[in-house]
């Protein structure tokens, strides 16, 4: 079969001149492989680039975010090369925001020789890809996907460096308490609106399960689920307004976020503030589409730590190549996903699946970008160290407001009324 590798300009391999570091790594790898057994020799050509299948939604409803994630992956190639990581070659795949396609594309990537798959942003698609990878014995490094089952089903080939639903919710509760205390405004009631898909339902479920344990000061008075393929959200927003919850907590995606904001302005719905756990509300596209009305939304999501040296490198790269874009979780977590793959390859010294799997299990990276103090994987494949921050939209920028140690601005809570903006 022809090797159908989608060649785009991002498929730059890390140079053809073998540096001294690469040469030494190569010799060491061959030596290590030779000592393990003859059947590894076939794959232990250490100069061979690791074929990384990058599975993302590049078309369909989540296209914007998928393409954004790819920017993080592309940034990884030159940066990792400078850090002495081995050569990687991307095989780009698009699951078109459809779970069925995720399944077939993952199988296709593996058939075409991918040694490892990174993806997939969408919880449902990532689960489907995980099943394929598990059956085919190829590692899956999850860049972004919050559904807890992914690392709760006993899968041996899945590695996730991203918080799952309960982790996001727990940190959200903690950060909310700090926020309310800092600003002196605590809502007594909260309305929850969530998209009715794998991600939204599991996060909302986690929320309800964990709320009593954290003794939150508010009561969730209404839970509104809406169709991800919905045409307009006027009825949903109206219901939220009628529920008289003081604050609004949303779990949504990019397009819903934009539609919801428009409806809220049109219907003059002004909660104390909008708290989001999930994508969309911090996105550049969101802020562009909503303008001044997109300010003051607080996203309780994993973020990167600007003080870390690697973060500075990444931010510098973005300043140079994407000057109109801010570094966000789509970029940072995909970047780290690629880094995890490269790091495992470096230590395994072989593209053999079992060797990669073993190397992934012993990952221990401290020189990273996100707020996790290190990247390791527990026996379920989950990184237990991931943490979540609170980020607020201000004038087209995302400003970290919590945790206080990483904050660059003071939170605005309650949010400014629609009429008083701009």
């Amino acid at each position: 079969m022809t090797d159908k590798v989608n060649k785009t300009k991002s498929e730059k391999t890390t140079g053809s001149i073998i540096s001294r570091r690469q040469f030494t790594a190569g010799v060491a790898a061959v030596g290590a492989a030779a000592s393990v057994g003859p059947w590894y020799i076939k794959n232990a050509r250490a100069a061979e680039p690791l074929k990384v299948g990058v599975l993302l939604p590049r078309s369909g409803g989540q296209a914007q975010i998928g393409i954004d994630c790819q920017r993080g992956a592309d940034a990884a190639l030159p940066i990792l090369k400078d850090l002495g990581y081995p050569e990687l070659k991307f095989m780009l795949a698009d699951f078109e925001t459809k779970v069925d396609v995720a399944r077939t594309q993952t199988a296709k990537l593996i058939d075409e020789g991918a040694h490892l798959v990174v993806g997939a942003f969408d919880s449902g698609a990532t689960m489907a890809a995980a099943q394929v990878c598990e059956q085919r014995n190829i590692p899956l490094v999850v860049n972004i996907a919050a559904v807890p089952k992914l690392t709760g089903m006993g899968l041996k080939w899945v590695f996730r460096n991203f918080p799952h639903g309960p982790m996001i919710v727990k940190d959200a509760f903690v950060n909310q308490k700090v926020l309310f205390k800092m600003t002196g405004h605590t809502p007594k009631t909260v309305t929850l609106m969530h998209v009715n898909d794998t991600f939204g339902s599991s996060l909302a479920g986690a929320l309800f399960k964990l709320a009593p344990r954290f003794k939150m000061p508010y009561k969730i008075v209404e839970k509104i689920s809406y169709d991800p393929y919905g045409r307009d959200l006027s009825a949903e927003v109206r219901k939220a307004k009628a529920s008289k919850g003081e604050a609004l907590w949303v779990v949504s995606r990019l397009n819903d976020a934009i539609m919801m904001t428009k409806e809220m302005v049109k219907q003059r719905f002004e909660p104390m503030g909008i708290l989001s756990t999930g994508p969309g509300w911090y996105d550049q596209e969101y802020m562009k589409a909503t303008g001044k009305f997109g300010d003051d939304v607080i996203s309780l999501v994993p973020w990167h730590d600007s003080n870390k040296p690697l973060s500075k490198t990444l931010e510098a790269y973005f300043a140079k190549h994407h000057p109109d874009r801010q570094v966000n979780p789509n970029h940072t977590y995909t970047f780290e996903g690629i880094m995890v793959a490269a790091d495992a390859y470096k230590r395994a010294g072989s593209t053999d699946a079992k060797a990669l799997q073993a190397a992934l299990r012993t990952t221990n990276i401290t020189n990273n970008v996100t707020t996790a103090e290190r990247i390791t994987f527990d026996k379920n494949g989950q990184n237990p160290h991931v943490k979540n921050s609170a980020v607020q939209n201000r004038g087209g920028k995302n400003l970290v407001i919590l945790p206080q140690s990483a904050a660059v601005a003071k939170p605005i809570w309650p949010m400014r009324p629609w009429k008083k903006r701009g």
């Binding site: 409803g61 009715n196 689920s225 169709d227 006027s234 009825a235 049109k266 589409a289």
Partner: protein
């Protein structure tokens, strides 16, 4: 459930329903006269939406101003489609007609995909974020109000055409009695093509108007085809006022279902209604008794 929330919901539902009604009108006209089930209904409407999008992006035209243009272009499209392609399958069994129109729908969807890409696109018109206040408690958003007014105007035009103009009456004659119409000397083929053209034009107009309310993307269509069918069945196939009444009814009941139940279940309500109507009163609310 407070009264004003309900009132607002129903008002919004009414306005949205008027737009739905306009789109259903296109389907009703085609089915009522030619007896073809247009499974490419939603797709033709989406063509209208994309047209309005392009006009807005290139010329800054408010979608409502694009209506006459869209209607004209889609009229030609519909006329051509009926006379060259669809007339050839009129005598074939239902499932072949369905397949042909479904294949045409697939072509339209994927053609749009090739040209416009898969991302949802919205127009950001100056009054996107504005609303009218009626009294103290009723809030009507501007885009919806304008869309509804346009829908009513166009529907009115159409109804007038069919009731009072000679061509309109000729078309109705074909629908009522095909053989008789031929005997009397009406050029039935031409009238059929005209009807399809009018139906398509109606969809073009509805599409322009709908762009004010929602984002357009190639996969939008099937949902609207189904919705139009639900409306037309409930209102009564072949009855034009039925299509409008059905549209309003569905618009309002969806709004109500969203408030009273879960919003994610609002379509379930419409389908449940469809099943009931199919079983108990298949001619719909205003249709003539069905064969």
């Amino acid at each position: 459930m407070d009264f004003w929330t309900l009132a607002n919901a129903l008002a919004t539902g009414l306005l949205t329903g008027l737009v739905y009604g306009l789109s259903a009108l296109g389907l009703s006209v085609i089915f009522g006269v030619i007896r073809i089930v247009n499974f490419a209904h939603g797709e033709i409407m989406v063509m209208g939406m994309f047209f309005a999008l392009v006009m807005f992006r290139w010329l800054g035209l408010d979608p409502m101003l694009s209506v006459p243009l869209a209607a004209a272009i889609l009229f030609v499209f519909g006329y051509a489609l009926q006379s060259t392609v669809i007339s050839r399958v009129a005598h074939l069994p239902d499932h072949m007609q369905f397949l042909l129109l479904a294949a045409i729908a697939v072509m339209i969807v994927n053609g749009s995909l090739l040209i416009f890409g898969p991302d949802p696109q919205a127009i950001n018109i100056s009054y996107s974020f504005d609303s009218f206040d009626i009294g103290e408690n009723l809030i009507i958003d501007k885009t919806r109000a304008y869309a509804a007014i346009a829908a009513v105007a166009i529907s009115g035009l159409l109804l007038g055409f069919f009731k009072y103009s000679r061509t309109g009456k000729a078309i109705r004659a074909c629908a009522d009695n095909y053989l008789g119409a031929q005997v009397v000397g009406l050029k039935v083929d031409h009238l059929y093509a005209l009807t399809f053209g009018i139906g398509a034009a109606c969809l073009g107009a509805a599409g322009c108007v709908l762009l004010l309310l929602i984002e357009v993307h190639p996969y939008l269509a099937p949902g609207y085809t189904l919705l139009a069918f639900v409306i037309v069945i409930i209102g009564g196939l072949g009855s034009m006022t039925g299509a409008l009444v059905g549209g309003i009814l569905i618009g309002m009941s969806e709004a109500l279902a969203a408030i009273v139940l879960q919003p994610s279940m609002k379509s379930a309500f419409s389908f449940g209604l469809l099943i009931l109507v199919l079983l108990l009163r298949p001619q719909g609310l205003m249709g003539k008794s069905v064969k």
